[in-house]
Amino acid sequence: MDSLHAIGFYVSAAISVGGGLAVAFLPGRGSRGVALGAVGVGIAGLYLSLNAGFTALVALVCYAGCALLMATSQYRVMETVVADEPGARRAHNFYRQVGAVAAGGLFVLLAYAAWRGRFAHPTFFYLGAVNSDSVGRLLFAHDALAAEAVGVLVLVALVGATAVWRVRDRGR
């Protein structure tokens, strides 16, 4: 990875992690939706710096959808409360049917892509054939320190999450 890609990688990492912390601590759904959009921009930048341009585009669209859902979920709940009136109920049912048809269309599109797509079948990389043996050698011999560091970080994160959960339950 050259310097330009590395700078992009670290900047995107800072944006995504900082956006995640903003999602955790900012009040209000609107600001949280904006922060989740920033997370999406950061993750798309990470993919772009890893030479995954199409994945960056898909992630950008999907995280924009997540941010929109987060930001507008409050209004959706209000809409369901107001939907007791007959006219509002009809409009609400119309939007639900449009959503259902759109979801069905997306499923058909994904099925078509899975049927027509030519998926890659990698059989060889620089540590040998792609199988459990070579992947195990990659993780536990070639990059053993990184794998152990990541394992320790995951353990600390899970223990911290469990501790926070128990403390919060005790406070109720």
Binding site: G40, I43, L50, V58, C62, Y63, T80
Partner: protein, 91 residues
């Protein structure tokens, strides 16, 4: 300045940790759902990173495909969760 597989995995784990923190910390269901895209994004970054650095001469499309699938799955799960939360409050 350079970034390797170790840096990618550290960033991925940081994203997963922040996502788990959000999912546990927030009391509101729709707010806690915001942790899901972060955790899925962390997993996707790890897949894309391993694909980028483990196969310099081969096709790196497998990890990238999994990353795109995880992004779509995150969107679907958030939509499902928001729908369930809205349905729960209206009854």
């Amino acid at each position: 300045m350079s970034a390797g597989l170790v840096a990618v995995l550290f960033v991925a784990v940081a994203l997963v940790a922040v996502g788990a923190f959000i999912a546990v910390w927030k009391r509101d269901l729709t707010a806690a759902l915001a942790g899901l895209p972060l955790m899925f994004g962390g997993a996707g970054v790890a897949f894309a990173g391993v694909s980028r650095f483990a196969a310099p001469g081969g096709p790196p499309a497998l990890g990238q495909g999994v990353s795109a699938l995880l992004a779509v799955a995150a969107l679907a799960l958030v939509a499902l969760g928001v729908g369930i939360a809205g349905r729960g409050t209206s009854r």
